[in-house]
Symmetry: C2
Subunit: 243 residues, 2 copies
Amino acid sequence: MSGWIAVAGLGPGADALVTPEVTEALAQATDVIGYIPYVARVAAREGLTLHPSDNRVEMDRARLALRLAAEGRRVIVVSSGDPGVFAMASALFEALGPDADPEIRILPGITAMLAAAARAGAPLGHDFCAINLSDNLKPFALIEHRLRHAARGDFAMAFYNPRSASRPEGFARVLEILREECAPQRLMIFARAVTTPDERLTVVTLNEALPEMADMRTVVLVGNAATRRVGRWVYTPRSAEAV
Amino acid sequence: MSGWIAVAGLGPGADALVTPEVTEALAQATDVIGYIPYVARVAAREGLTLHPSDNRVEMDRARLALRLAAEGRRVIVVSSGDPGVFAMASALFEALGPDADPEIRILPGITAMLAAAARAGAPLGHDFCAINLSDNLKPFALIEHRLRHAARGDFAMAFYNPRSASRPEGFARVLEILREECAPQRLMIFARAVTTPDERLTVVTLNEALPEMADMRTVVLVGNAATRRVGRWVYTPRSAEAV
């Protein structure tokens, strides 16, 4: 049997958000590759080899997947959320040679910002941006540039990887930039570990937001200028006025 | 038994992309409300009343859902894709009175842009924007304003509702704006009816793009300045340079 690679999104955490497509692919796989906590979500079974690895070795994982598939194995590279959103799909294509043509499928998943938005109401119900705040692979100047354009375009925003132990100051600077661009009453949602037992949702205004509200398990949502509350919900109306 | 409302995302089309959470909620429902082609995706059964309705009556649907739930019924409002992305979740909260507090859940789904991105490779693998190109509920000037900010921020982009029979000229203007802001070799993907039997994926450069490549069943993806091809795939690298 010839080998293949599927880059699969496991969703934000709950088993009820794993698509049947991903479940079926996992049942056929011989090898699962990924970041330790994501591989830990896959049940061990006879005939399945798990290859957990630490953070920041995305290219090693991609090359391992390509090598195993070339040997005829059926390989799943797991991401949390969706594999195409700040996850392993791009890394696999970066590692792919121009003349190689292994069988590859990208299997979408529920990405963190949409799971978080669903818990809060509908804060991304109008035009929005997704921005990765990690500066591992891009300069902070580009993050600032994009933040300002997102704010001036009055997009709602979702921030992935807002803050880590190795770069605690970046998110404080992000909040300063938002305060320069947006009104103090702008609504924000800090959604931590959504759909897991550790889930915690915090809704604040921009002037109440603190850097410590975010960590690497948090996705941060920022409404647009029209985002409002009704009861315990936060939503962005479908209509918008001219700028 | 008291009533409830779930606003559920059915994903882009394939049954294998409907989450178990949504499948379970549908099994418990007494009523399903939504746009005709989405309700048609729900299997009829004893005890389930289907309420299909035409386009542009979102507020009527939301009020019907609230009324039925108040009568003790278990109501699902269905959207394609994700209910929080240009879909029914915002409409429900718009219809919700400030003092009403029915049991509401928003059940996320695989949104069209991520299903389309997965088919193409990983074109949204870096920061990106989602923009609804319909000017039913917002002026075209706001669409233009956001397009220019998205382009100047070098975001990848996903366009929902790019073109309909009632407004054929808007998308031609969108392409003109993109040509003013981006290089002619910028990669674009026209993804029609992704994961259905009618699926069609077309990859072109911005200078090759034609308005007729889009219709209401198409989601259009635009790469950022670094988006490239490898083999038959399109992806955006994870690294980015300063602007």
